[in-house]
Symmetry: C2
Subunit: 145 residues, 2 copies
DNA sequence: AGTGAAAGATCCTTCTT
DNA sequence: AAGAAGGATCTTTCACT
């Protein structure tokens, strides 16, 4: 279980994953070797899954996003799931309770792009689409208390 | 606009943001200083928004996730949006077209945690909740073609 | 579990071409 | 954009708390 210092390290790294050890150590009041040890441990136990970059999809041409709820037709659950995994424009998908079996986020170049993708699953699942107008909360950490 | 080499750099960094310049340079067939210049440019123009870590929420005690659709009661749109921004368990929220004005992702410790949060907005908005059972597509990059 | 220091390797940036 | 050099940073180790 992460202690208070681990949590502060995670907060700092979430904001800037390239902070040097010396800087991290100063912020949490430990020495560089200690911080180095803690980071290694956090990575090994999988609490830190990966070091990544956050990309602005609009600057890659994906100026439109949609949230699509997907209800596979009877007997098509597994087929639809495989399909979802293979559509690269789906950058996130959750399998959930309730009628809407899947909830997916799509990155799109324009509306016709959306139309094309929805058409390709129309014979295997029903879909409900919501176009993203704004993002009041961009991906952030839950409370670490 | 990013060229082919920029796109390869983005792909490499998305998988591992700590790859050294030398390694990145070798992969794309350039020298370290060139790659350094490109990364600086990508960061300055905001295509790379940030260097971060990906955290496993379960290991922070958030063993439950929910996707909640939120329909503010008449006249409560702005109030509800402020509320959403202030609930730290909401780690993602999109404002979308359609009846469901907001779609939010909640990180939760258990079911009673969900109950508490939904209760706190029950008098300002209607909600529909879907519990996440699996994540067939974890956050990934859209195609860079 | 952590500190402080020090050595050796690696990495980044600057300068020149 | 490449190559070489200088300076910073990371990691590891060790004796000690």
């Amino acid at each position: 279980m992460p202690d208070d210092i681990d949590r502060r390290l995670l907060t700092l790294l979430t904001a800037n994953a390239r902070l040097p050890l010396k800087e991290l150590a100063a912020q949490v009041g430990l020495s560089s070797p200690s911080v180095s040890d803690r980071l290694r441990r956090l990575e090994e136990q999988g609490l830190i899954r990966a070091f990544t970059v956050e990309i602005d999809p609009a600057q890659l041409g994906y100026t439109l996003q949609a949230i699509v709820r997907i209800r596979p037709l009877p007997g098509r659950l597994h087929l639809v799931q495989r399909l979802i995994e293979e559509i690269p424009e789906i950058t996130e998908c959750d399998k959930v309770t309730g009628d809407d079996c899947f909830i997916a986020r799509l990155m799109l170049r324009d509306i016709s792009h959306l139309d094309r993708i929805l058409d390709s699953i129309a014979d295997k699942a029903e879909t409900s689409t919501a176009i993203v107008k704004a993002q009041p909360v961009l991906r952030r950490l839950p409370p670490l208390a």
